[in-house]
Amino acid sequence: MDLTLDETQQMLKNTAKDFFATECTETHVREMENDSNGYSKQLWEKIVNQGWLGVPFSEKYGGFGLSFLEFCILLEEAGRVLLPEPLFHTVILGGMPINIAGNDKQKEELLPKIISGESIATLAFHEEDDSIIPSAINCSATLSNNVYTINGTKMFVPFANISDLITVIARTGKKETDLSVFIIPSNANGVTISSLDTISSDKQSAISFENVQIPSSNLLGKENSGWEILEKIYSMAAIGKSCEMLGASEQVLEGTVEYAKTRTQFGRPIGSFGEIQRHCSEMATLVEGTRFVVYEAAWKLAENEDSKKEVAMAKSWTSDSHKKVCAISHQVHGGIGFTKEHWVQLYSRRAKAAEIAFGDGNYHRENLAKLLSL
């Protein structure tokens, strides 16, 4: 048991923290809320040049050859500043399915493009019924003459607006889990993307696939093995999101304590009042608790160990704890915190989005219950 970052990890963390503090200011976050693309090409290029998209991928494909754990360290720092650029999405939702399920040819062709920033990739999973169960997938893929024809509608696809590659899970057979994963170019005929207006002002879309034809070589992994792939990606996504929430929680705590020290009422700093101290110590304890469960799950995922329980615990705990941290921050800030001009609401709106993404607390507790044979 060793909870301390090693030298490489610490260096990566420090570099990322400094980089994001300079490059991803509150002004930038606000600008991107209203930007039609939702991200800045200039900043994206700088992130690409840091090599960070390659952190968890093999050197063979131009990556760093580190692990998912190191990528999580980056995500924590990205989460601290609410990075709008699609770092999380491109690597976990776009790159990881190829990395874990793709054949050599697919990896050789696609991973270098993703790592070098030439491609932005995302994942289309949810449909009208937003449950995370195989039977909720009705989008169909039918094979004929080595060509799959895709039909159906996907919902809540992050950054589909700027992605050139979309990983899609679709039904390829009659059994409930007869699902397969495909790579579909977003410019294929019959793909229509329409953006959604979300609580966190991020860029999510609905995508309709109408007789979209793709070669059978775009199948990732074996036919009807899609659910298994998706479960792995969903675990990584749940933990990646938890790391972002951890970073965000730390920032909210820091900012709130700072405010409590400087804001004066009744002739003294509000942070000297017992009630405010109670709030702040509660936040600090929640954040402290989050770090272990999140990194425990990240480490187990990176080591390919059985991590199902740890993932369920980490995402359910973090979804709720980050939400609480933001709620307490609002309470400490009083009126100013719920104004558009204040930074707290930037965090609390995204906290809600992160809580419900990749399974909310109840979803993961239900998973945990199954794992405990309850």
Binding site: S272, S281, A284
Partner: protein
């Protein structure tokens, strides 16, 4: 980063586990149906002392001590593992007062004579110490304590009252904080003394029975009790700082999580195997949800403890982290007990003496005895104050 134990650590865990399987009676269930050995019956106390000697023989009691005092300089993680296994098995015999509190203090502040006189007996598990700190008028504000020691020839003469003194009725000896200079600022007029015999003339131990009906706490009164001056530890009037001495021993509070896990495991087993309204209790959606929440929180609590041990391994001194661990862990103990009440339904109200009870009535005992968890050894409010002011740097109220 590595979220697994090493091979050596795992084999040590196995060794402890196997030892406990042999040393504890079949179907061992903890002392008095709960985990607070201090509240034990005479018979259970006898067994506690027997276990303590066995642990001493294995060298495990003193594993954290420096080698020069017969210890093993055990790593923090090894200490964590030992504490986890002892607590998971609900095994009695560890010695908080002698091994973990007084001995380190003596190693740093004691005279050679004091070390020779006291340390070997502590190491062998031969002697039970108790701690004379709190007073009726000095609870959270401990430094305001008023028990007086006046120098008289070669002796100190002690007068006053100590309260919440755990195990005083079992103890052979006591270490005590007394006021030796009432004129000085409150932290600078306190001395740290050793009382060699709890049966000394003038000492009276009065039981305080807690709401669970158990005798753990006491009120101890001192009426002109004489102790020799050589029993002063450290300098006169510097006792506050002597008492605050902590060696680098594991103090992660990992017992909170393993104690909760032991009980939760038992509750889950019960909930799966018992029905209410024809359905296994574990299938009640509310119960199920609460079990998963608490299971997760136990892991969070475990993580907080590992973090403290990790900091200590790296030579850092935990501060707010210890308060967080205590704050979180003690509330968790109350939550598990309350979950037990919900799982048992109306049977939750039956104690160990009822022939209709379930789980031997231990849930009623847990529920009642964990009320003190968030109060004893620094209330939750004190912990939050430490986190807020020392940890986060907020101004003092």
């Amino acid at each position: 980063m590595r979220f697994a134990f090493t091979k050596e650590e795992e084999s040590f865990r196995k060794e402890v586990r196997e030892f406990l399987q042999n040393a504890l009676p079949n179907n061992w269930d903890g002392v008095a149906g709960n985990n607070l050995e201090e509240g034990a019956s005479d018979k259970e106390w006898e067994f506690t002392l027997e276990m303590r000697k066995k642990l001493a023989d294995k060298g495990w009691l003193t594993m954290a001590w420096p080698k020069e005092y017969g210890g093993q300089n055990a790593s923090m993680m090894q200490q964590v593992i030992f504490a986890e296994e002892m607590t998971l098995a609900r095994a009695p015999g560890r010695d908080g007062f002698g091994i973990r509190m007084l001995a380190p203090t003596l190693m740093i502040h004691g005279t050679e004579e004091q070390k020779t006189q006291y340390l070997p007996d502590i190491a062998k598990g031969y002697v039970q110490w108790c701690q004379g700190y709190s007073e009726p008028e000095s609870g959270s504000d401990l430094a305001s304590l008023q028990t007086r020691a006046i120098e008289d020839g070669d002796d100190f003469v002690i007068n006053g009252t100590k309260v919440w003194t755990s195990s005083a009725h079992r103890a052979d000896k006591m270490f005590i904080l007394v006021r030796t200079n009432p004129e000085a600022p409150k932290h600078r007029g306190i001395s740290f003394l050793l009382i060699d015999d709890m049966k000394s003339e003038g000492i009276k131990v009065n039981p305080i029975i807690d709401m669970a009906g158990r005798h753990n706490f006491n009120m101890v009164t001192f009426d002109n009790v004489r102790i020799p001056k050589k029993n002063l530890v450290g300098e006169l009037n510097r006792g506050w700082y002597v008492g605050a001495t902590l060696l680098d021993f594991e103090r992660s509070g990992v017992e909170y999580s393993s104690r909760c896990m032991a009980l939760l495991t038992e509750l889950v087993e019960f909930a799966k195997n018992n029905k209410r309204g024809g359905v296994p209790i574990s299938e009640d959606p509310n119960i199920k949800k609460e079990i998963t929440e608490i299971y997760t929180e136990i892991n969070v609590s475990r993580g907080m403890s590992y973090k403290i041990a990790d900091m200590q391994s790296n030579g850092e001194v935990p501060n707010k982290e210890s308060s967080m661990s205590k704050l979180f862990g003690t509330v968790l103990e109350q939550k598990v007990a309350d979950l037990g009440m919900k799982i048992l339904g109306l049977y939750g109200q039956l104690g160990p003496n009822s022939k209709h009870n379930k789980l031997k009535g231990k849930i009623e005992q847990e529920f009642l005895s964990t009320v003190s968890a968030t109060i004893a050894a620094g209330t939750s409010e004190i912990q939050r104050g430490i986190i807020a002011t020392r940890g986060l740097g907020l101004p003092k109220p």
